[in-house]
Point group: C5
Chain length 155, copies 5
């Protein structure tokens, strides 16, 4: 049995946690989870740390949607750096699921990316814990989340 | 009873702490607070650390107004990174309330953003401590501080 | 009695430490100081750490003049980040007094900025230790070092 | 006998680990290895840490292919920074083998770079552990991985 | 007697360590040294850490030549950041001698910069340990390595 933390934000414009939970429910009996919501992406690193230290999570899925402006990009870089720092502190993975708002051409497209990236990374988180060979079998294959797989080099 | 630290700067062109305090006064009996002022945003991270370690704060609200020039942006990135580092050291949230001076089209607009962002994040800080479910109920809804909510994707 | 460290560089084109010392001498009897010079700004963070740990300083004033080129800007960012890291390690303030060489329109202007910023931050350092209320009284007022105060928003 | 960790990603579009393993097999009897695959480059730092701490690796080769977009570049910077942090934590080398997707003019070229860089860095990793003088003999000679050597300055 | 570490790379196109050693030999009887070569600049921080912790160095001179492309610049920033982190860990100076390949207008100029910067910083490293007043005497004078001194402001 593994315990998965979900950290998400009020800032994001789509509720990716619902999709993550939908995937995790497929693994009932082997996976439990809990959720912690914060205002924005820069609040995610310590939220993840709390999920690890106070809630005994084995992995955390960190969901965020950086905005399109220059200082949003800077916030994303700070958040990612500290998510990296947190992982080294606890020796556990945080699967960062960030969708930049300007990745979407419109709201419909943005939602589609967020849904797809959240679901696929939920599987990645589960398999990292329960079946790491699943990932090795896909190493170097151009696997993508939020879009079609790029596939391996065609050469 | 929770104790909230307010760290702010002489550099900022509007006294956001007053608005934060105004909100916190609504919670008298459940919330106490104290304030520590430093010269500029790069002085905020250790100010927050002192509020946690020397004043037993449960959360810190860090108020700053980065200037419009390239090196001001760099200062903001350094300050945010170290605010992130501080949170991981103490395992507690710092709610960063930064308003870039060039977010405002004029002084009137700048003040309006600063006031709104400070007040809304003061509520966020209180609810993170006293009622975290309040935030989860708003997860993925495009909540904003300093401007109108963006709202969820319309798709 | 407080002990103030001054860390400065051979790279800078004006001796800001002299101005800092001139201000600190006004506080004789309440303030002592010592100085440590390094080649450039990236050497300042560990210089500050040594002033704290080997010389028992209560605060450090770090004086530097980043050059105008892209890699000088990068050096400034690295130096500022590590100055931030050092503060969190020792739980004490480092007042960073950086003047970018291209802030000055000419040598005369550059010197004027460096002199003014160094002197005003020397007062900031002293008051942070001896009279923190002095800073709170100026919170949110658009106080500047190296130029005229910007003043509060006019709205 | 030294033990080498290989950390790689599903995101990369070519399986560089195969080339690394091919090189390491030349050192059978003196080198053992194991592999750990993660979704993308930001997952590599903690993967490396786990290879050091849970699998007793003496060095880790971290294989990744950052994408061509601005946020891919940002991910690469975060990943590299945390790979640096991890090395300082464990006091051991991580040989970072990153090939930016846009280094390749086409798939054929990209594969050629990835193959060459992976193989050459596999030798570097082995010699760092088994024969450091091999590297000193090549100091300052403009050695490259993923392309022809630049060679020493011609002056 | 002080012990100086020299960390350098195979990537650089000129052997700066030879010039550093040439300078250090002038101090025979007061200075000893040793050298450690790694593939590229991102390998320098942990190389320096090993020189401090495994070889008891009192200071390290880190020699590198970042390439001219955008990702080379990013590597330089990561390397410098981690060189800064390493200094704070060990409480000792690392004198970073980086020459960006595009500082040189041609190979001849590049070599001249590398030679000059390496030699001058070798003196800086020695004097930081043996005669710190030598540096203070030059504080704020616009001292440069790799080019003519800029000199103090002319105002």
């Amino acid at each position: 049995m593994v315990h998965i933390g979900i950290a998400d934000t009020m800032f994001a414009r789509y509720d990716m946690a619902k999709d993550v939970i939908d995937v995790l429910e497929e693994f009932t009996g082997r996976v439990t989870y809990e959720r912690y919501t914060v205002p924005g992406i820069k609040d995610l690193p310590v939220a993840a740390l709390k999920l690890f230290e106070e809630k005994d999570c084995d992995i955390v899925i960190a969901l965020g949607m950086p905005g399109p402006k220059a200082y949003d990009k800077m916030s994303a870089q700070v958040a990612s750096t500290m998510i990296g720092q947190c992982q080294l502190m606890v020796r556990k993975h945080i699967i960062e699921v960030f969708v930049h708002e300007d990745e979407g051409e419109n709201d419909r497209h943005l939602k589609q990316i967020m849904k797809d990236r959240a679901r696929k990374h939920a599987y990645n988180a589960v398999y990292l814990l329960l079946d790491p060979a699943w990932l090795t079998a896909r190493a170097g294959t151009g696997t993508r989340q939020g879009q079609e797989d790029a596939g391996p080099v065609n050469a």
